[in-house]
């Protein structure tokens, strides 16, 4: 595989704080690389450097074999596009927002119109051209911001927490749009995240970043195997557990993740393994629900985070699970820290790494 971008011994300071410490990293062409790390680990700065928006104090940035300098940064930026964690929209129509980059590239009007249409279709917002961008809902705005970058079809796409704080519906639309771009254009994608995507969009490689240093880099299977050993200190990935797997008579796999928590998963695995359950696949209820789902656990809510339309709960069932429910459900069920709840999820929702 060819190397698309390269960081060599890169160090970046902000004032007297070292944000990135001697980072060396190769981005392979066509790969999806996930940057996993807690807040303040340097993920965003790393993405900005790959977007040629920030300059390192020392070290080298190379893109397609060429060193990035002040003189060529502007030209290089035409080959990369970054979607920021915060929603940044121009105070104008959806069309003008998405068309901005195309106008900078001096494409003809007809082409721009077509491309904007296609981009809106990709994020399932057809017909939104004339709407005022700032008046859309949070989820729609984030999709517009994504469409604005995807429409440029750059070689490198940088995403900073693309689905954080999105409700499941919007998150799925984002994920599918990104998956489509990856499939059709083989765009190289580097994304900072807290959360793993569904199996179909799992990254090719994961880089763990902490305190400005890349501590591990490799395929997901490798990383999760190592993660399990220092999971306590690395709270960056929700609902990832290490455990021991045993085949069951029914043909499924039972994974013991400790503290008496046994998780049933479809698929075959034996021995040491890691599992991951998407917070959105977990149902929260106040009493036990009789269903076909194989995994039911009783626990207590230990933490509540409010993100507007979506509420994230941390539930201790012996091990801590992160679950996501709508604000409405949260209020209707009168949940709070300390509430006893039941978590239910299907065996097929358990991803064996």
């Amino acid at each position: 595989m060819t190397v698309l971008a390269e960081l060599k011994n890169l160090t970046k300071y902000f004032g007297n704080r070292t944000v990135l410490d001697d980072i060396t990293l190769q981005i392979k062409e066509g790969e999806i690389l996930a940057l996993l790390g807690p807040n303040g680990s340097g993920k965003t700065t790393l993405l900005k450097i790959l977007a040629f928006l920030e300059k390192p104090e020392s070290g080298e940035v190379k893109f397609q074999g060429e060193t990035v300098t002040d003189k060529n940064a502007e030209r290089m930026r035409l080959q990369s596009a970054m979607v920021f964690q915060r929603i940044l929209l121009f105070n104008t129509s959806v069309y003008n927002n998405i068309a901005y980059g195309l106008k900078m590239r001096k494409l003809p009007q007809n082409t721009i119109k077509e491309e904007v249409k296609k981009a809106l279709r990709l994020v399932k917002l057809e017909g939104f051209e004339k709407r005022s961008a700032k008046k859309l809902s949070g989820g729609e705005q984030q999709r517009i911001a994504l469409a604005r970058a995807l429409v440029l079809k750059t070689k490198l796409l940088l995403l900073d927490e693309p689905t954080a704080n999105l409700d499941p519906k919007n998150a799925q639309i984002m994920e599918e749009a990104i998956a489509t771009i990856d499939r059709e254009l083989r765009t190289t994608i580097v994304m900072a995240t807290h959360n793993m995507f569904q199996a179909k969009t799992l990254p090719h490689r994961i880089a763990l970043i902490n305190d400005g240093k890349i501590t591990e880099i490799g395929a997901p299977a490798e990383i999760f195997g190592k993660l399990s050993k220092n999971l306590a200190s690395f709270a960056a990935v929700d609902n990832t557990f290490a455990g021991t797997a045993k085949a069951t008579a029914a043909g499924t796999t039972m994974v013991d993740i400790g503290n008496g928590v046994q998780i049933e998963a479809t698929g075959q695995r034996q021995g040491v393994t890691s599992i991951f359950v998407n917070p959105q696949d977990i149902i929260v209820s106040k009493s036990a629900v009789a269903s076909s789902a194989r995994n039911v656990f009783k626990g207590k809510i230990v933490e509540v985070s409010d993100f507007g339309p979506v509420v994230k709960l941390r539930v201790d069932v012996g091990k801590e699970f992160v679950v996501q429910i709508t604000k409405r459900s949260f209020v209707e069920m009168q949940l709070n820290v300390g509430s006893t709840v039941f978590l239910t999820f299907k065996a097929s929702s358990v991803h064996l790494i």
Binding site: K48, E74, R77, L88, F90, G101, R148, A149
Partner: protein
């Protein structure tokens, strides 16, 4: 009849009959102050962009100076410009004194601090990450700056309208460097002053009403433009 009431009645007659003397003065005022505002915007906007977007040593001082200059007494500025444009002054060779050019230039200088201060504040209010956004989408440094300017558009327009109001309503500069020469450099303010002193109440009042209509009218438009909800309060029935 009471000369004041007489004056007011005659003033309205002048206004509604479209009296040419009156309206020539109005157009001249609008033209001088309008051009002055455009000039101030032309050289003031780049300064505001510099102050709003870039960081450099002494920036707070320069911003402070522009802020302070907003309150410059118009007569004081008028005197300074008079001295500069007079035959003995450094720009005397331009022969600008007592010409329309002097008023336009003078009022432009007067309102520049206003343009700069308001526009700078508007530009600073734009999220600084927008520059990175523009750049990552392919903008050059200058294209990115223009994008920021567009985001600050409302504030920039407001700075221009406020400047126009200040220019058209000022007396000191127009009087001292224009000389209030009838038909050439007389404007609304200088003529209101002249007619009042002469006892020509009808003209003085007519011009005053028009000047106030212009200034208040523009202010009203600004208020509504910034907060369209104000209009709704007029349509609501008492409860």
């Amino acid at each position: 009849m009471n000369p004041i009431i007489d004056g007011i009645v005659k003033a309205f007659q002048l206004i509604f009959s479209g009296d040419p003397t009156v309206y020539r003065i109005v157009y001249r005022s609008l033209f001088f102050s309008g051009t002055a505002t455009i000039l101030a915007a032309l050289w003031g906007t780049p300064i505001a962009m510099l102050l709003g977007l870039k960081d450099f040593r002494g920036k707070p001082i320069i911003k402070g100076i522009f802020n302070a200059l907003i309150g410059m007494p118009t007569v004081a500025l008028g005197l300074i410009l008079f001295l500069i444009f007079s035959k003995a002054g450094p720009l005397g060779f331009l022969g600008l004194l007592y010409t329309p050019g002097a008023i336009i230039l003078g009022e432009a200088v007067l309102v520049t601090p206003l343009v700069v201060s308001i526009a700078t504040t508007a530009i600073e209010a734009v999220d600084p990450e927008m520059i990175n956004l523009a750049k990552t989408l392919g903008a050059s440094e200058s294209q990115a700056s223009i994008a920021i300017l567009k985001e600050a558009f409302n504030g920039v327009i407001f700075s221009n309208i406020a400047s126009f109001n200040r220019a058209i309503a000022e007396l000191g500069v127009a009087l001292l460097v224009g000389g209030n020469i009838a038909g050439l450099t007389d404007v609304l303010t200088t003529d209101i002053s002249k007619y009042t002193q002469r006892g020509d109440l009808a003209y003085a009042i007519a011009l005053s009403i028009i000047l106030m209509a212009i200034v208040f009218g523009i202010n009203l438009i600004i208020i509504i433009a910034r907060n369209p909800k104000v209009l709704a309060t007029f349509g609501r029935s008492p409860q």
